[in-house]
Symmetry: C2
Subunit: 280 residues, 2 copies
């Protein structure tokens, strides 16, 4: 297999947590870990695009994934370099060709997000209509439970700070391929999208896990990455539910321990833990 | 006292929750409440500004508060009408004068948020330097505990859906003046800001409670509303901590039951529950 193309990258992760002093209800000083949060201004070919507030744990992948999910670059091959500089809180992305429609997309200042207020340049929702997810992939509940246990162990790293969201990309036998945490769940999902491009990973037989809520934007991004399984320990919104149904995504909420609620796309689930029958 | 000025307003709240069918890990059908989520496109004097994804529970206040917190209108008196139309998923805000600098602000497409990806037109952070919060107001821990108990009861309304954030504005003796829930915590805080303008409520002797994390944007918005107390049951980020320290905000995290951690501005806290001495 040919080695996947890689742009020139810095490797500029920031520390994930910082310690501060707090006073509790008994008047005692309590050293407390808090999550980092740094502004990171993204320049695309010297044009200022956006300032993201990030934990700074995977800034290069975040920049790549942001551009991918906003459809501002067409493929990883188009990116020449991603250079993070924390002296100036900036990441400069250099591309090797001119993209049609970028100017037009940037003109359209529609701002949409599942967290209430985010950024989507252009009409990503229109793209949803054309998406078809793979139907020849299945997830056994036993493998799901293996994954949930692995995620639980991963999360303990920053659990202490209580101010981050985590996302994981996993195989269908419950192996975590990458795990990203950030102060916002949109950044975490964008960083995963960036890593997938950088490592040439196909999403069509994978599972996406998030600690965050399953809103329209989370479901849309998952579908855009062609990932057929979306799992969260949290709840969902009606619009997330509607879009998941429309694209036929297998969406599980309240997933924790050996429990879950399957909302859409139940045909890809295999319930084997108690008895070996397919669900639905 | 003169009755506060009120723009012409619609009253177009959407239902907060919807019921869908889910299948649990035992293959049983489980009727489940999920939160509403609706796109709401905001037009300011017929100019399309932003599309917010919202629970739709207080869309008029959300529109007013968004414009307030983005500094796109100078005062409630400048707003003539706020008209929500769910047929077109839009809210039209009509003003009665031309604002200097709005065009310029809208040109600057810097996008910043504590949730990772949000919207701030212009440089709100610069404003922070000029903010001075009241220092002659105190909060007794016993009153805080009364408030936390009231918040806990409020939240049970939508707790079932697991997909919303709640915010409250409260007095310093623990009375909740308003409580707003939304799919994003930025929307919830904007809706509170809108209600405060609509009801002519001064923030300088109030407390702001949020279920969400204390990120830079949450702290900034609280300071902009001149509210000296910010309380969350969640954690905080380093940048939230830094800004709170800079403006002298009294910030409490992990507040639940009779517990809290005070991070900044401890001089406004009075610990009376165990013994009547001031903290710090």
């Amino acid at each position: 297999m040919a080695k996947p193309y890689r742009p020139k990258l810095t490797n500029a992760a920031r520390p994930a947590t910082f310690e501060v002093e707090a006073v509790n209800e008994r008047g005692e000083m309590v050293p407390t870990s808090i999550a980092g949060e740094h502004p990171l201004t993204l320049y695309l070919d010297k044009r200022e695009l956006v300032t993201l507030m990030t934990l700074g744990h995977a800034p290069e992948a975040l920049a790549v994934g942001f551009l991918r999910n906003q459809r501002l670059v067409a493929g990883i091959e188009d990116i020449e370099a991603v250079q993070v500089d924390w002296e100036t809180d900036s990441v400069a992305v250099t591309t090797n060709r001119v993209f049609k429609g970028v100017e037009e997309k940037l003109q359209k200042k529609t701002v949409t997000t599942g967290c209430g207020q985010g950024t989507v340049y252009g009409d990503l929702m229109e793209e949803i209509d054309s998406i078809k997810l793979r139907d020849d992939v299945k997830l056994a509940d036993t493998d799901l439970f293996v994954l949930l246990e692995k995620v639980r162990k991963h999360e303990t790293i920053y659990k202490q700070s209580g101010a981050v969201h985590g996302c994981a990309l996993a195989t269908l036998d419950g192996e975590i391929l990458m795990f990203v945490e950030d102060v916002g769940r949109h950044n975490a999902v964008d960083a995963i999208a960036g890593f997938m491009w950088l490592d040439a990973i196909d999403g069509s037989d994978k599972l996406f896990y998030t600690t965050g809520r399953l809103t329209s934007e989370m479901v849309t991004k998952c579908a855009q990455m062609r990932i057929p399984f979306l799992v969260s320990r949290s709840g969902l919104t009606k619009m997330g539910h509607d879009i998941a149904g429309q694209v036929g995504l297998t969406m599980l909420g309240r997933a924790s321990g050996r429990h879950y609620l399957a909302f859409t796309g139940k045909h890809r689930l295999q319930r084997t833990a108690t008895q070996p029958t397919a669900i639905a």
